[in-house]
């Protein structure tokens, strides 16, 4: 019996019977096999599992980047299956934010313009545009990269770029933030830098769904889901990271993961 993961607060995202099959391979590969999932408002959920278990596919399917082969996803009260391209993109623009393993940026824009881009897209009036610019500037300052705003993307470090990526995801004040291995390409000091920034964003009220291989990163989550062969086989609930004063949170998580064969 697969666990139906449940949030500790009002649901922002719910998925029922999610299946995803890739037909490009021979035979077709079923990567997600009937996943049920609910994520509550303000929650920080980490998704773990071995390579090829379907973590990233799950992230992109529940975020509407890809369409599921079967099943339903609802984000912030919107059934994704019923949305056309325009409404789906509008929902992504206003409700979701993305941080990827590689901080993909448009090479022909500087850091500031890259960060500002989604907010500018969402702004309809001049006032909204001005507000977007102020928000982008605040975010860059908050994550301590205000000084590199006018830099090109090849002129800054990987950690700075990933923090800029987080700023970009937050400029539209999304309800939910999806992060796909945001520290996967970073060294340990940069990883800490980025995780602090993500934790800070979560503390600010953003719901966070993060795919990661790193138990130290996952230990900051309220809940950790473990995927195996396209199904959620178990979940680890730990409550808010800030509230944990025991210091053995990461060890507990590691022990749970070892039991699952991680």
């Amino acid at each position: 019996m697969k666990p139906v993961t449940t949030p500790t607060s009002r649901a922002v995202l719910s998925a029922r019977g999610i299946r995803k099959t890739f037909h490009a391979t021979e035979p077709p590969a079923q990567v997600l096999d009937g996943i049920d999932l609910t994520i509550g408002h303000g929650e920080f959920v980490a998704v773990m599992g071995a390579s090829g278990s379907g973590k990233s596919t799950l992230l992109y399917t529940i975020s509407g980047m890809d369409r599921p082969t079967a099943g339903q996803v609802s984000v912030d009260g919107h059934e994704l299956a019923g949305l056309d391209d325009t409404r789906m993109s509008a929902l992504r623009l206003t409700t979701m934010g993305f941080v990827f393993q590689h901080p993909y940026f448009l090479a022909n824009l500087d850091i500031h313009d890259n960060v500002l881009l989604p907010a500018l897209k969402a702004a309809k009036t001049r006032e909204q545009k001005e507000e977007a610019k102020a928000r982008a500037a605040r975010l860059l300052e908050r994550f301590e990269i205000g000084h590199i705003g006018s830099h090109g993307i090849t002129e800054v470090s990987g950690g700075q770029l990933q923090r800029a990526s987080l700023c970009r995801a937050l400029t539209t004040e999304p309800v939910i933030l999806f992060a796909d291995e945001p520290t996967g390409a970073l060294n340990s000091s940069m990883t800490a830098e980025v995780m602090d920034a993500l934790t800070q964003a979560h503390r600010g009220g953003t719901t966070l769904v993060m795919v990661t291989h790193d138990p130290a990163c996952a230990a900051r989550a309220d809940r950790v889901l473990y995927l195996k062969d396209g199904s959620i086989v178990d979940e680890w609930k730990a409550g808010p990271w800030e509230a944990d004063t025991t210091g053995d949170r990461e060890a507990e998580l590691l022990s749970w993961l070892r039991d699952l064969g991680f």
Partner: protein
């Protein structure tokens, strides 16, 4: 290993490789077809010339002549192998009708403007050939009709041909169709019917026909023709009232009409090869960039750059070879279609070694050019640095990488997205993207620039030659109607009657009459004292300024205007003087000043104009008139006058231009259609090929935009907008160059062709070349983009980020 690598690459990049192979195949196909058509045309004409043995020099003449003088001249010329006076009797098309026995099918030949000359078969040379290549020899009561008429009027063997003479109608049965080495070309202004001696005598005696002769000479050496012509023209007593033609001219004129199509094909093929090379550069550089890490690894293992380049070279060698072989094979079929008319008009050409060598040489040239270019592009592999390739995945050297980073930085600093005010964000991003990726996108404007030239120039040439205003290149005024008076008993009387009727006709305005008179002028090589050349002069009123002069102006009293070819041959320009005389008396010669030079493609391009009014004694007359704005009236008026006046051939000017220039317009129409199909098709194909590669490199960027909240439609619109801008830029440049430089280029080619045009101003159809074609090109580009963008919809967008 090379083969395995090539096959794997073919599988991996199927669409790109197919598109590339198609472009190469089309280039090879057109080049081989051009070479084969030229070879077939030349062989076919040569075959006809060897069977029919046309004269090496001929002089047409209307009127009396001195046989003894001809005999004396021939006896005095050591180069004359044989000579003859070939008698002909000409009838207007309206006087000749045909009827298919047992049916109501029939009509007359008035739709043809050229002279219909009835002749008997010659014995030794200038033979008119039956379909089997033998000399046609109809029995009494039979006639052999020119093959051109077989096609034009759909005549068949057994049809009845009736010639209306003054004595009554003579009916002959069509026995077969003849090919005529002298007058085979559709450029010829006359055509010959072969009848028996008895029928010829009856037609001549019947009256109503216009007797003419051709004095013909076969020489021991055809290269002596030009010298022989000078000797002939220097002899005063010889008949010269008509055109003189040499063997070389016959050969050139015969080959020209088919040669035009071949030259157009070769030109289109040249542009195609250029496009293919641009594509190869784009694709191979892309492949090297994609495979840079593998190349770095191979270099690290100690594999030489030459061997790595060999992996790519092998694939393209096979592709180029296959394209050339397939292109050559298809070209055989296409040549058969394009040269179908050759066998009918000329002769079935024999297969000679050159038949094979010509296309093989053309294909070998294509192959060599392609392979040399590929080798040049692959030299890039030599410059790849192992560490940069493995660590950064870049083909650039450290210096190039630093330069690119600096460029990107500068571009990024200038974007200032925060402060943009006007236009949508999508348009702004498109513009910034295009600015940053300008170099990569340059292929599209280049291809569309070249394709637009390819489709525009032949169409401009076609519209120029089809335009009623083209008469200005025919040395004629712009008018709606043209009446020719060439045949008939009393030309002068006919002219007087026609002119007064037209002047009194309230529907007609601006009625002008011109007389064609043969003058003589000292030839270039024998100025002053040696020989006199005949000079065909049109005498009339040029004061209205209706004829266009490329230099100088209209002739006034005591002045003469010369056609460009005549001015060139005589070596004179406006302000110079030449001596002219009518008749053969030196004393009658007068000095006239050259007032201006005009372009003329009629009468071989050698004409002249003088101000004056000649009402009698001219060789022929032409009367122009206008019907006002409604061009539809012209045909009705012409039909009415043709019915009312014998010996008058009145035509709407548009019909006259079309029929007179059919040989060129047909060739240009074929060229224009071929160029249009290939140009537009190719542009769409290259767009697909380019975008296929471009999109695969831009996937990451599209993935980011999609994740950030840009809809697929918006992402697609950005690509489409870039395509439209790139396509539009290339197309606009192409239109501008095709209409400006194309004019000069085509003018230069035409002036070399000896058609009588020295400079050409395109008479374009603006709606077609400035609106329809550019829109068609942009639509072709958009269609290519739309096809590819439609494919994006089905993909999982997350893969765009993963595969980057």
């Amino acid at each position: 290993m090379e083969l395995r690598y090539g096959l794997n690459d073919l599988k991996r990049n199927k669409a790109v490789n197919i598109a590339l192979a198609t472009v190469l195949l089309l280039s090879a196909f057109l080049m081989a077809t051009g070479a084969m058509v030229i070879e077939r045309a030349v062989s076919s004409v040569d075959q006809l010339l060897s069977q029919a043995r046309p004269p090496h020099f001929l002089q047409m003449h209307a009127g009396d002549y001195d046989v003894a003088a001809l005999e004396r001249f021939a006896a005095a010329q050591p180069d004359v192998e044989a000579w003859q006076v070939h008698e002909m009797v000409g009838f207007a098309g309206a006087e000749i009708s045909w009827q298919r026995p047992g049916t109501d099918q029939g009509g007359d030949l008035s739709a043809s403007l050229i002279d219909n000359l009835f002749v008997t078969q010659n014995r030794d040379f200038d033979l008119l050939l039956a379909e089997d290549g033998t000399a046609a020899s109809p029995e009494t009561g039979e006639v052999d009709v020119p093959v051109a008429y077989q096609r034009q009027f759909g005549l068949e063997e057994g049809d009845q041909l009736t010639v209306r003479t003054d004595d009554g109608a003579r009916t002959l049965t069509v026995r077969g169709f003849v090919r005529d080495s002298q007058m085979a070309s559709s450029m010829s202004s006359a055509t010959r019917f072969v009848v028996s001696d008895q029928d010829f005598a009856r037609l001549t005696a019947g009256g109503g026909g216009d007797p003419e002769v051709i004095v013909e000479y076969r020489l021991t050496d055809e290269s002596m023709a030009a010298g022989f012509q000078r000797a002939y023209e220097a002899e005063e007593a010889l008949p010269k009232n008509g055109q003189a033609v040499t063997y070389t001219m016959i050969r050139v004129i015969n080959t020209f009409s088919h040669g035009l199509v071949a030259v157009a094909l070769a030109m289109v093929s040249g542009v195609l090869i250029l496009i293919a090379l641009l594509n190869l550069r784009f694709v191979i550089r892309g492949a090297i960039e994609d495979d840079v890490r593998q190349i770095g690894a191979m270099k690290a293992m100690g594999i030489a750059s030459k061997d790595i380049a060999g992996l790519y070279l092998g694939k393209y060698r096979v592709m180029a070879l296959a394209a050339c072989l397939a292109g050559g094979a298809v070209a055989v079929g296409a040549t058969a279609v394009l040269t179908r008319g050759l066998a009918a008009d000329f002769a079935r050409a024999e297969i000679t070694p050159l038949t094979v060598i010509a296309p093989v040489a053309a294909l070998a040239a294509v192959y060599l050019v392609v392979m040399t270019t590929i080798r040049g592009i692959l030299r890039r592999i030599n410059r790849i640095d192992v560490v940069t390739a493995l660590v950064h995945g870049s083909t650039l050297t450290a210096r190039q990488a630093a330069r690119r980073a600096r460029r990107q930085r500068r571009a990024a600093h200038r974007t200032d997205l925060a402060n943009f005010r006007r236009g949508s964000l999508n348009t702004r991003l498109t513009w910034l993207g295009l600015r940053a990726e300008g170099r990569q996108w340059s292929l599209i404007p280049l291809v569309f620039f070249l394709s637009t030239i390819v489709i525009t120039v032949p169409t401009n040439m076609l519209s120029t030659f089809e335009s009623p205003r083209f008469v200005t290149y025919m040395g004629a005024p712009e008018a709606d109607l043209r009446a020719d008076l060439q045949f008939g008993d009393d030309l002068d009387q006919s002219r007087t009657e026609l002119l007064s009727a037209m002047r009194e006709d309230p529907r007609l305005t601006d009625v002008r009459s011109y007389a064609n008179v043969v003058y003589e002028t000292p030839g270039e090589d024998a100025r002053g004292d040696a020989g006199w050349d005949s000079l065909r002069v049109e005498v009339g009123d040029y004061s209205g300024g209706t004829v266009e002069f490329s230099k100088g102006g209209a002739p006034e009293e005591g002045q003469i205007a010369l056609s460009a070819l005549n001015a060139g041959a005589l070596g004179v320009g406006p302000g110079d003087s030449i001596r002219v005389r009518q008749g053969t008396e030196d004393a009658a010669a007068t000095e006239v000043e050259v007032s201006g030079i005009y372009q003329d493609v009629t009468s071989g391009g050698y004409t002249a104009k003088m101000q004056g009014n000649i009402e009698s004694g001219a060789n022929s007359y032409v009367v122009y008139g206008s019907t006002g704005a409604d061009a539809g009236d012209a045909a009705a008026v012409a039909a009415e006058y043709n019915a009312r006046y014998d010996g008058v051939e009145m035509k709407p000017m548009r019909d006259y231009v079309q029929q007179t220039l059919a040989y060129v317009t047909d060739a240009f129409r074929t060229a224009a259609i071929v160029a249009l199909v290939f140009g537009v098709g190719l542009a769409a194909l290259i767009t697909v090929l380019f975008l296929q590669l471009r999109l695969s490199r831009d996937r990451q960027k599209m993935g980011i935009l999609f994740a950030l909240g840009f809809s697929l439609r918006e992402v697609g619109t950005q690509v489409l907008l870039k395509t439209v801008l790139a396509v539009g830029l290339g197309t606009l440049a192409g239109v501008a160059v095709a209409n400006a430089a194309g004019e000069a280029g085509v003018g230069a080619v035409l002036s070399l062709s000896g058609m009588g045009l020295t400079e050409l101003t395109f008479l374009t159809n603006p709606a077609v070349v400035y609106v329809l074609y550019p829109l068609g090109m942009v639509a072709a580009g958009c269609a290519g983009a739309a096809v590819l963008l439609a494919g994006l919809r089905r993909q999982d967008k997350s893969t765009w980020l993963k595969e980057a």
